[in-house]
């Protein structure tokens, strides 16, 4: 088991290395010299060279690459062209903001989605519950991801005026954790959070349902029922077995989910890392974009690893060598 984890970690590092390399070259071969964008006209060639050096854009492409990777190892992502400060310092507040909607959003989405999936899967085949469950999931999944967000905005913000529809609110001088632990923040958080949850429900629901539908005809489910346990307990056996396919899908799907979260951040003007990434690409602020991609690739490989390990915990038949 330990050897397996070690091997997987090495593989993961290789993946991150390759992704980082590709990102590096992708941004460098893009046309346009960033200095031209940020430089006031009339800058001397000398001043320009100084700036290029500061940004790590001097020397051959190969030299730039080696320097970039070396710095990365020491945790230095380079300086943002746009903010003129270290990319990491730029990113981390946005990351925290994203985590506020992503983590509870994904967790609640998974729990609510698979819970509903269990109910829908357990309901009589072809009945009302099954049909409306599947219909709802298909509609949400089929709709473009911004539609749900915009509908939430239209209903709860514009029409009912229950919650604000823009941004994260004003911390009003609060610092540290207190920035987040106040009513105003929660008020702003609720709508984008709901959008993430809703975005995440359908896949969970459909996967859990098909797992349960499959499991309910298994012989072992019949025997569990024969034992005279409660119907909820029988459903639990089916659900517990259906979690296996769900887990294999859930963690790798985080990658896809990032796209959904970006959309939510943009629709709700939530200052998260996804929205910032899009802005960074538009601004040709490569260090920030590269840093964001780097963090994402780490997150995705870790998610895959977590999927494997959770799977082995849930399914005793899986042995890693």
């Amino acid at each position: 088991m330990r050897a397996y984890i070690l091997r997987r970690l090495l593989q993961s590092m290789l993946v991150v290395f390759v992704v980082t390399t590709i990102m590096f070259f992708m941004f460098r071969v893009m046309p346009a010299d960033p200095t031209t964008m940020f430089l006031e006209g009339g800058m001397t060639e000398e001043a320009r060279q100084v700036l290029l050096e500061e940004w790590g854009l001097n020397g051959t492409l190969w030299e730039q690459y080696v320097r970039y990777m070396g710095n990365l190892l020491t945790g230095d992502f380079g300086n943002s062209f746009f903010y003129r400060k270290p990319a990491w310092d730029v990113l981390w507040p946005f990351i925290i903001n994203t985590l506020w909607i992503a983590v509870p959003g994904l967790l609640l989405g998974a729990v609510i989605g698979s819970g509903l999936g269990m109910i829908v899967g357990w309901a009589p085949r072809g009945g009302k519950v099954e049909r409306s469950g599947i219909l709802l999931a298909t509609i949400i999944r089929g709709a473009p991801s911004f539609v749900v967000g915009i509908m939430l905005l239209a209903i709860f913000s514009s029409w009912l005026n229950w919650v604000p529809g823009y941004g994260m609110g004003d911390p009003q001088g609060a610092t540290g954790l207190m920035r987040y632990l106040n009513w105003d923040f929660a008020h702003h958080l609720i709508l984008p959070l709901c959008a993430v949850i809703i975005f995440f429900i359908p896949e969970n629901l459909l996967l859990m349902r098909s797992g349960v539908v499959e499991a309910r005809t298994e012989d072992y489910i019949e025997l569990v029922r024969a034992k005279g346990v409660s119907e909820g307990r029988v459903a639990w056996h089916a659900g517990r077995n259906s979690m296996l396919p769900l887990i294999t899908w859930l963690f790798p799907a985080l990658a896809e989910t990032i796209a959904g979260i970006v959309v939510v951040e943009i629709v709700f003007s939530w200052p998260g890392v996804g929205r910032e990434l899009v802005l960074a690409v538009v601004r040709q602020d490569y260090p920030v974009a590269q840093a964001a991609f780097f963090l994402m690739s780490i997150m995705i490989v870790l998610a895959n690893l977590a999927a494997d390990l959770t799977y082995s915990k849930l399914d005793p038949r899986v042995v890693y060598k």
Partner: protein, 356 residues
């Protein structure tokens, strides 16, 4: 205050065997092609402490009967009639009463050794679950009971901590049997408990079940298509064909002096116990297959395959009626003597294929 292990065992050991009376049991599956009448108005009794054999070829409705006795059929199945357990009708019970009789009064050993245990729970936990669903005992006491049951089927107690995939097929089936006896239910339903296993394992498991049944004095419904197993195990036997019981009675009488041509044919398909010096008769199988239950024949359901069929057989469905010590559903039971002699000959069955 939950029970001690000793109290649990004492209370379980004093349980009497159950009397089962099945009256006019019918099961119809609704399918996309129409209603399939898998079981038509069957009647039988299992006396307390006896073994009842249900025999017939695959698809004749044996599992459907067994499942309906525990109300395990899918929603697509409509069940009619009565299933009386010591006089109480299982089919009329509410959810709570039903859950209470399951496993305490009727336990089940299913057909597939491989898939009848949940792969993601330990075998021990699954046995414990069956116990704690019905009696107020601690996990430790239930576990001790599971160990006792494992010892009874010849499995080492440590293996309770393992998962089903770590067991061989034979061991899994023994574990399922251990679970079936966990609450010493008065009636055991065993649906082809050995078909999924290799022949040597089949004999072992069957004699294990027989031993336990004898020792604990339980009632049992044993489903099989193996006549030899029935003759060794069951006091009474019913032969099923296309959802009907076509012959039923004391096992020895049914097998020695069959009245229904289908019973005669079935016996030909199995090696029979014969007197010393008697030559080995060829195994003859009955040609053809079960009738389509979507459109069952109007007359006798066995008619299309019966070598003795007549005009009357095509027109009229024969009823099960008493003849000697048994009951048979054939229009021509008066000619049974003659049929029995003819049935021994392969050419009677219009078949040339010799199974051996």
């Amino acid at each position: 205050m939950s029970m001690t292990f000793e109290a649990l065992c004492t209370s379980l050991e004093s349980k009497p065997p159950v009397r089962l009376q099945v009256q006019d049991l019918s099961v119809t599956y609704s399918t996309s092609k129409g209603p399939v009448r898998a079981v038509s108005q069957i009647n039988f009794d299992v006396e307390p402490g006896t073994n009842f054999g249900l025999v017939g070829e695959s698809g004749c409705g044996k599992s459907t009967v067994v499942k309906s006795l525990m109300r395990l059929l899918p929603d697509s199945a409509k069940v009619g009639g009565k299933v009386l357990l010591d006089g109480k009708d299982v089919l009329a019970m509410d959810r709570k009463a039903l859950a209470a009789v399951r496993w305490t009064q009727i336990a089940l050993v299913t057909q597939s050794a491989m898939n009848s245990l949940d792969p993601v729970f330990t075998v021990g936990d699954q046995i414990v679950e069956s116990i704690r669903a019905h009696v107020d005992v601690s996990h430790a006491v239930a576990w001790a009971r599971a160990e006792q049951m494992f010892a009874m089927v010849g499995l080492p107690a440590e293996r309770l901590r393992e998962y089903p995939h770590q067991f061989s097929g034979g061991m899994r089936q023994r574990a399922v049997i251990a679970m079936a006896f966990s609450l010493n239910a008065g009636l055991l339903l065993a649906d082809e408990p050995t078909t999924a296993l290799d022949p040597i394992m089949q004999d072992q498991i069957m004699s294990r079940i027989r031993d336990i049944q004898q020792r604990l004095h339980r009632s049992m419904v044993l489903v099989t298509h193996d006549i030899a197993v029935v003759s060794e195990t069951c006091e009474t036997v019913a032969i099923m064909y296309a959802g009907r019981i076509v012959e039923m009675g004391p096992t020895r009488d049914v097998l020695n002096k069959a009245y229904h041509p289908y019973t005669m044919g079935l016996q030909n398909a199995f090696p029979r116990i014969r007197a010393k010096g008697e030559s080995k008769p060829p195994l003859i199988s009955i040609s053809g297959g079960l009738p389509d239950l979507l459109h069952p024949p109007k007359g006798c359901r066995f008619e299309p395959r019966c070598p003795f069929s007549t005009e009357r057989c095509r027109a009229e469905d024969p009823e099960l009626r008493p003849v000697g010590t048994v009951m048979a559903a054939c229009h021509h039971i008066d000619r049974a003597e003659e049929f029995r002699r003819a049935a021994l000959k392969a050419e009677t069955w219009r078949v040339e294929e010799d199974v051996q």
